[in-house]
Structure formats: structure tokens, C-alpha cells
């Protein structure tokens, strides 16, 4: 019995067809992965299936019966819940309050029956195999726990189908593994789990079925596990990327130049303690660390937004920074692609007090073309682009500034395999031209593919340095170090 079906769904946004003629059948008891390039229509299709978007054509069926009216509330009432790409929790409320928001059990005199709610949520958490203090404030939770809470929230509403949009994009490898343990548990318990992801190795390892989307169409939908894992990965990559040749990411090691950026005993307690490092021209230094390790603060220090309490930052050239959170710090979502591509650089285009419009447009369109983001319309608001395309935009902006020092936080966050390769190639190209590069991230495979050296940041300080060919186990263990204080 199919629990959730999309039948011949089409969804347009203005003149842009996001999904067309897509059918998808999700069955209980297994993890179903949905993969595809940025902007392929994955999120759109699943939001239609979760009732959040009404299709222009086609319909959605739950247990063989059509979803009508086509609303999120109706979908939830019939057991379909979705965890969005960006968390939708209220920081100032507790875990319990977030979980029951909008579906509070009402007892006598219209008062919320907290005990009943708590008992039910505890049950859900137990089923999930998750330990979480229901009275803790969401503000105090880490990313992994927030994600678990989002899932618990869906299950609290008795969801039989759980849809997750890029759940591992912001997780460390260990957290991702734990998440899949949870998801397997859900599937084994008879629920259907749908995961949108770019990480094909996750698909090959964890999913039992996969659907591949390209340009809004379903181009493959099949079971996983008939062929060996390596063969499966190769086929998935081929499906997602079409016939594009995979680019080699490894580079010939260039000569290491003079040190361009040096940090000496940089302190800003409690987030940063005694940070010393140096990056040379032509070198790529990786900084591995989980959320809360001080990565964000260190990036802000390098960007000049945070002044260290003590210690010195010596930069021998201009620094260009790619910030980690593209929505909060990277983009002005309501502004046009052109304004975003030139954000903070208008001083270069002023002549006689006025901006030189044609020059700005020429530079912006050159950057847009290089970024590979679609659609290529400078007047569109940044909001209109999918997450991956937005990421391509902010990466291109950071790399277009002819700075000899590049600080890149999570450069491929949320982009597809092909785009990630293109971004990697750009980073390697910049290094070969003598740019000193710092890459911040938690994706060890990415860091190892790019970097010459990797330092590990934990609890606000550098706990070790490893060569790029160190194994994941060793780096991972360092990342979770409880630094001696």
C-alpha cells in the first residue's frame, strides 16, 4: 500500500516551471531519497506533497484518497509532516512549547494540559531514541538537537510520513550518522521517510529507494541495493549530473609562498582562546570544527566585524570573506541579484557622485555568468533563487574581489554535486594563483579534497593540526575534543 503519492504534479512560479509531470510514490517502512541538482524542483515537489503548495496540475493522494482541500493543515491531519530546510522553531520557547505549538491539548477551563503534552512528547522522544530535555529553551540547543526537535514536532502530530528537506546540510558527520539512525528507527517502525539531499553517499548507504529529478522532471525512480555501493554511487552521480564529466578536484601541490595572514594568540573569551595560525600564499588551510566550536566568531574576527580582546591579526593583503549563513549574513533577499552581487562594493562605481550603471551591470552579469547560478536575470530578487543557486552567488561574490586572502565558510553548503565541484575547482584555481585561502567547514571529505593542512577547532581553540590525508576518524575525534580549560 502506498502511503503518499504525487500524481502528475505540475507547479509553476510565474513563468518558471519548477516541477512538471512529476509522479512519486512513497511507501511505508523505508527511507526514500529524492536527489537532483539545485533548482531541480526537489523542495517544490515535496512541499506540494506536504500540502504547503497547491499544484497547478495533478494531485496528491494519501492512502489512495485525494488530498482535498490541498492545505498543509489537511496533510498534517492525514499524517504527512515536513521538516523544512530552515528550522522553524521559536528560540524563546521551550522544547515542549515548540513541539505542541498550535496543537496544545486543552484541559479543563481551557487551560493547556501540560502534563498530558509532556507525557506524549516524552513518548515520541523515546520512540525516536532521542534524549532531549523538554523544558530546555530552544535557544540553548545545538543544531543536531534542533533538528531532532523538528522531527519530534512532526511525530507529535502523529505523522506517518515524515519528509525532511536537506536535513544533513548543517550537521557534522557524526550528527548526520545519528540522524540516520533515528530515521531508520522511524522506517522500521512502519513510517515512510522521505529525505531530500545532495549527499549521494548518504543515499547509497541509507536509502532503500531513490527518485532523481532534473529540471523539474522525474528522470529515474528505483530501488537501491541491487548493485554494490560503489556502482550505486556511480549510477546516482550519472543520474544527477547527466552526461557531465566529473572534474578532478585534486591538484598538483604548488610552491608555498610567503605568509599572508597570521593570527597570534587571538582571544575573545569565551568563544575564542589563544588562536594562532598562519596561511601562506598559494596555500589552502582547512579549519574543521562543529557548530559552537568558535568557527563563526573566528570568521567574524577575520572579517573585521569582531574585535579580539587581545592578540594580533596580521594581514598583508585585502581579505575577502564568505560568511557561513547566506540568509542572515550573505544576501539581502529582497534586493536584486545585481545589488547582491555587488554588495558593499558600490564605492568602486561612483563617478561625480553618481553610480555608473552600465559598468555595474556589466560586472554583475559577468559575475552571475561565472557563478553558474540560474536564472540569469539581474533584476530578480535573490529570494527567487533556490538555496543552492543563492550559495553560488555568494561564493562568486567573495571570489570576485581580487583579494589575496580568502576566508570561505562552508563554501558548498547546500549546493549539488556538480556545483560543488565547480566551486572546488575555483578555490583550487585561486590557490594556484597565489591566493592564501582559509576554508571553514565540518565536511571532512571536502576539507581533505581541498586543503594542504587542516587545523581542528574545538571549544574555541585550536586543538590540533593534521595533514590533509589524515583519516576521518582521527579528525572527527579531535573535533569533539573537550578542550582542557
Amino acid at each position: 500500500m502506498a502511503v503518499l503519492c504525487a500524481v502528475d504534479v505540475e507547479k509553476r512560479f510565474g513563468s518558471c516551471v519548477a516541477v512538471s509531470g512529476a509522479s512519486l510514490r512513497v511507501e511505508p517502512g523505508r527511507i526514500h531519497a529524492v536527489v537532483g541538482e539545485n533548482g531541480a524542483g526537489k523542495s517544490t515537489l515535496l512541499r506540494v506533497m506536504a500540502g504547503q503548495l497547491a499544484p497547478d496540475h495533478g494531485h496528491v493522494e494519501i492512502d489512495g484518497k485525494r488530498l482535498a482541500p490541498h492545505t498543509a493543515a489537511e496533510a498534517i491531519a492525514r499524517g504527512v509532516g515536513m521538516v523544512a530546510q530552515h528550522f522553524q522553531l521559536i528560540d524563546a520557547l521551550t522544547v515542549l512549547e515548540n513541539a505542541i505549538l498550535g496543537v496544545e491539548p486543552i484541559g479543563a477551563f481551557g487551560v493547556v494540559d501540560v502534563a498530558a503534552a509532556e507525557a506524549k512528547l516524552e513518548g515520541v522522544l523515546k520512540d525516536l531514541g532521542v534524549r532531549l530535555d523538554v523544558r530546555a529553551l530552544v535557544r540553548e540547543l545545538g543544531v543536531g538537537d534542533r533538528q531532532r526537535l523538528e522531527i519530534a514536532r512532526v511525530l507529535y502530530r502523529d505523522a506517518q510520513v515524515v519528509i525532511l528537506d536537506e536535513p544533513t546540510a548543517v550537521l557534522t558527520p557524526r550528527e548526520a550518522t545519528q540522524l540516520y539512525e533515528t530515521l531508520h528507527r522511524l522506517a522500521d517502525g512502519g513510517r515512510a521517510v522521505v529525505v531530500v539531499t545532495h549527499k549521494l553517499d548518504e543515499v547509497a548507504t541509507h536509502a532503500r529507494a531513490v527518485t532523481v529529478l532534473r529540471r523539474g522532471r522525474v528522470i529515474a525512480s528505483r530501488e537501491i541495493g541491487d548493485v554494490p555501493r560503489d556502482e550505486e554511487l556511480r549510477r546516482l552521480t550519472q543520474d544527477v549530473m547527466g552526461d557531465a564529466e566529473p572534474a578532478p578536484t585534486r591538484r598538483a601541490r604548488p610552491a608555498r609562498g610567503e605568509p599572508l595572514l597570521e593570527l597570534r594568540d587571538v582571544e575573545r573569551k569565551p568563544q575564542l582562546r589563544a588562536i594562532s595560525l598562519s596561511v601562506h600564499a598559494g596555500e589552502i588551510l582547512g579549519v574543521a570544527g562543529v557548530e559552537g566550536s568558535g568557527q563563526g566568531e573566528l570568521v567574524r574576527v577575520l572579517a573585521g566585524l569582531l574585535v579580539p580582546a587581545s592578540g594580533r591579526v596580521v594581514a598583508k593583503a585585502a581579505i575577502s570573506v564568505l560568511h557561513g549563513d547566506r540568509h542572515a549574513e550573505g544576501l539581502v533577499l529582497d534586493a536584486s541579484l545585481q545589488d547582491n552581487l555587488l554588495l558593499g562594493e558600490l564605492a568602486h562605481y561612483v563617478r561625480g557622485g553618481l553610480l555608473r550603471a552600465s559598468r555595474m551591470e556589466a560586472e554583475a552579469s559577468a559575475r552571475l555568468a561565472r557563478s553558474g547560478a540560474v536564472p540569469r536575470e539581474l533584476d530578480l530578487p535573490a529570494q527567487a533563487l533556490s538555496g543552492g543557486n543563492q550559495q553560488k552567488l555568494v561564493v562568486e561574490r567573495a571570489m570576485s574581489r581580487a583579494a589575496k586572502i580568502l576566508v570561505l565558510a562552508h563554501p558548498t553548503r547546500g549546493v549539488d554535486v556538480g556545483a560543488a565541484r565547480a566551486i572546488h575547482a575555483k578555490i583550487l584555481e585561486a590557490a594556484s594563483q597565489g591566493v592564501a585561502i582559509l576554508v571553514f567547514g565540518a565536511d571532512l571529505d571536502e576539507l581533505r579534497a581541498l586543503c594542504d593542512r587542516i587545523v581542528v577547532l574545538a571549544r574555541g581553540t585550536i586543538v590540533g593540526e593534521v595533514p590533509a590525508d589524515a583519516d576521518n576518524e582521527r579528525i572527527g575525534a579531535l573535533m569533539l575534543t573537550e578542550a582542557a580549560s
Partner: protein, 363 residues
């Protein structure tokens, strides 16, 4: 969507907003007039004839609209940067006093070529000065500009009273002495005789030109472009080293300067002196003009003319219905256009939703 299609879509939305606003206002007008026992048809006719129907009437509409062009523009400039300048009222009062007082004390035979630029600069400078404190507080400490500009309005009232009391006023009155002849902005009727009798002065074309120049230039300057970005996402702007605080400060100060310019229409173009209360209300109506005009040249001009027409219409119909009817109509226009505008409608819905969420959360 191509640039051309965006542009026409925008134009259609603007036209629609204007038509909806006018239709709603007219409907409300008919109902109110009928409630007062007058014939809606006859009153509509009289209203139109008394405003646009004769050169004199049209001149009076333009005269009433003159300060509104400036104050609407002032509110708009702040609004672009996400700031709500409620202080236009006080900035205009202080600037009017400064222009009136200085204009009266210029050398008697000073030439207009000297007097005008000087007094225009004084108008802008004093308006800007009155917005400086809220601007500094906002950009340095994040103090909400609505609170501070309202306080500055009250303070302006007191300051103007005191200044008039301690010697700026003519003895025994609450008005400044007449400005010197060279400081007067001549009536437009000196150029277009049919306008004879109406109070419209050369301040009107100056106001229209200012609206056009400022609205055209803003997105073509670094300041103007960055101000909008700062309003939309200050965190991202700060991350890319855009001076967020400075853009906010500049926006409020420029807004204050434009507010001060409205004294051209009242002090220099009309009375020839400043008296207590001259120009009062133009600041508040400017908010409505900015809301209706939504930053487009045609929108701003039409909105100011519409409110000018309502003000003049109130005088025309005063024999039949109280002038307050026209004030009600101002509110009707603002509400109708606001509800017809998708962006505003969305904001209202979001505000309601957040209230609902908060209420839920409190349970």
C-alpha cells in the same frame, strides 16, 4: 521577468492603486454628504468645479499641495531606509521659524539671487538639525526613531513658543516680522495671469522639481542604493562593510532637510512671515502622501495633489458640509490604497499572524 515587463506591471499596480483610492474616497464622500442631507451629485459637481474646474481652483489645489510635495518626499526618503520619520511636523516648524526670522533680518534691499539660496539652505539646515538628535540616537544606540521624533515634535512646539516669546516675534504677536522683499517667492500668477487670486507661488514648481530630482537620483547614488539594502538586511550589509549606522543617520538627516524645505511654500511663498501653527499638519499628511506615492514620482505627485484637492475642497463645500468630512476622506483614501496594495496587505496579515502566534505561545 524582463525589466520592461516589471516596469509595466509596476505602472499597472500604481494606476490601479490610484483608481481604487479615488473610487473609495468618492463613494465615502457621497455617503457622508448624503448623511448631511445634501445631494451627492450636486456636491460632487461643486467639489470638482471648485478645485479643478477653474484656473483659480486648480491654483489653490496646487498651493495646498506645495508643502505636501516636500513633506511626502521627506517621509519617503526615511522610509526607503526603513525609518519612520514622524518628526516632519516639528522639523518643518523649526525650519519655518528659522526662515521667517532670518528672512526678516536680511538687509532690506538684498537681491533674490542672494536671499533665496541662503534661505533655502537655512530651511534645509534647520530641518536637518532638528532631525539630528533622533538620527544620532538611532544610528549609535538603536533608539527607535518613532519615539524620538515624536518627542522632538513636542520639543519643537515648546522651542518655537519660547523663541517667539524671547524676541523673534513682533511685539505683542505670535508672528515674526515680514521677510524682506527680495526673499519672497512670487506668486505663479505673475507668470500665468489666469491663476490670479490663488496663493500658489513659485514654491510649487520648485517642489515638483525637487520630488522628481530626488526620486530619480536616489537609486543612482551610492548612499541611495545602500540605504535600501540596509533597510532590507542590516546584518548582511554590515558583513560586507557597508556603513549601516551612517546610512541610517544620513537618511534621517536628509529627511529632516527636505521637511524643512516645505517652509518655502508656507513662509516664503505664502505668508511672508512665520506665525505659530503655520504649516501645521503638513508633516502628518506627508506620511499619507509617502504611503500612497510608494516612492514613484507620479504616485507622489498625484497623492500630494489629491490631498491638496481635499483640503481645498473642504473650503469650497464648507457652506454645506463641515470641513472634517474631507479629513475623513483622507483616511479613507489611505486605508483603501493600503488594503489594495499587495505588499501592505501581506504585512498586515503577517502582523496579525505574529500576534496570533504570540497569543498561542502565551497559552
Amino acid at each position: 521577468m524582463s525589466r520592461r515587463r516589471l516596469w509595466t506591471a509596476q505602472l499597472e499596480a500604481d494606476a490601479l492603486a490610484i483608481v481604487v483610492g479615488l473610487a473609495a474616497a468618492h463613494l465615502a464622500f457621497c455617503v457622508l454628504v448624503w448623511l448631511y442631507g445634501e445631494s451627492p451629485w450636486a456636491m460632487s459637481r461643486e467639489l470638482f468645479v471648485g478645485t479643478w474646474g477653474t484656473p483659480y481652483g486648480a491654483g489653490q489645489v496646487l498651493f495646498k499641495a506645495t508643502p505636501l510635495f516636500f513633506t511626502g518626499l521627506a517621509v519617503h526618503v526615511a522610509l526607503r531606509a526603513g525609518l519612520f520619520n514622524v518628526g516632519v511636523e516639528g522639523q518643518l516648524a523649526v525650519a519655518s521659524l528659522a526662515v521667517g526670522a532670518l528672512g526678516a533680518h536680511l538687509p532690506l534691499h538684498v537681491h533674490a539671487v542672494v536671499a533665496w539660496p541662503l534661505l533655502f539652505a537655512v530651511a534645509m539646515g534647520s530641518g536637518a538639525l532638528w532631525s539630528l538628535l533622533p538620527a544620532v540616537l538611532r544610528s549609535r544606540f538603536g533608539t527607535h526613531e518613532v519615539i524620538t521624533t515624536i518627542l522632538m515634535n513636542r520639543l519643537a512646539g515648546v522651542a518655537v513658543n519660547v523663541a517667539l516669546g524671547v524676541g523673534l516675534a513682533e511685539a505683542g504677536s505670535v508672528r515674526t516680522p515680514d521677510v524682506v522683499l527680495g526673499a519672497h517667492l512670487p506668486r505663479l500668477s505673475t507668470l500665468f495671469p489666469p491663476l490670479r487670486g490663488s496663493a500658489v507661488s513659485f514654491a510649487a514648481p520648485i517642489a515638483v522639481a525637487t520630488v522628481i530630482v530626488v526620486v530619480v537620483l536616489l537609486p543612482r547614488t551610492r548612499y541611495g542604493r545602500e540605504a535600501v539594502l540596509v533597510a532590507a538586511n542590516p546584518v548582511a550589509c554590515a558583513a560586507e562593510r557597508i556603513p549601516v549606522g551612517r546610512r541610517l543617520l544620513e537618511s534621517l538627516v536628509i529627511s529632516g532637510a527636505l521637511a524643512g524645505l516645505a517652509s518655502l511654500g508656507t513662509v516664503l511663498g505664502y505668508k511672508g512671515y512665520y506665525e505659530q501653527g503655520l504649516g501645521a499638519g503638513a508633516g502628518v499628511t506627508g506620511i499619507a502622501v509617502a504611503m500612497l506615492g510608494r516612492g514613484r514620482i507620479v504616485g507622489m505627485l498625484v497623492a500630494a495633489l489629491l490631498f491638496g484637492m481635499l483640503a481645498q475642497g473642504g473650503l469650497v463645500l464648507n457652506a454645506h458640509v463641515p470641513m472634517e468630512v474631507m479629513e475623513v476622506l483622507q483616511a479613507v483614501v489611505v486605508l483603501a490604497v493600503a488594503l489594495g496594495d499587495g505588499a501592505v496587505r501581506r504585512q498586515v496579515m503577517e502582523a496579525l499572524r505574529s500576534v496570533a502566534v504570540r497569543a498561542e505561545a502565551r497559552v
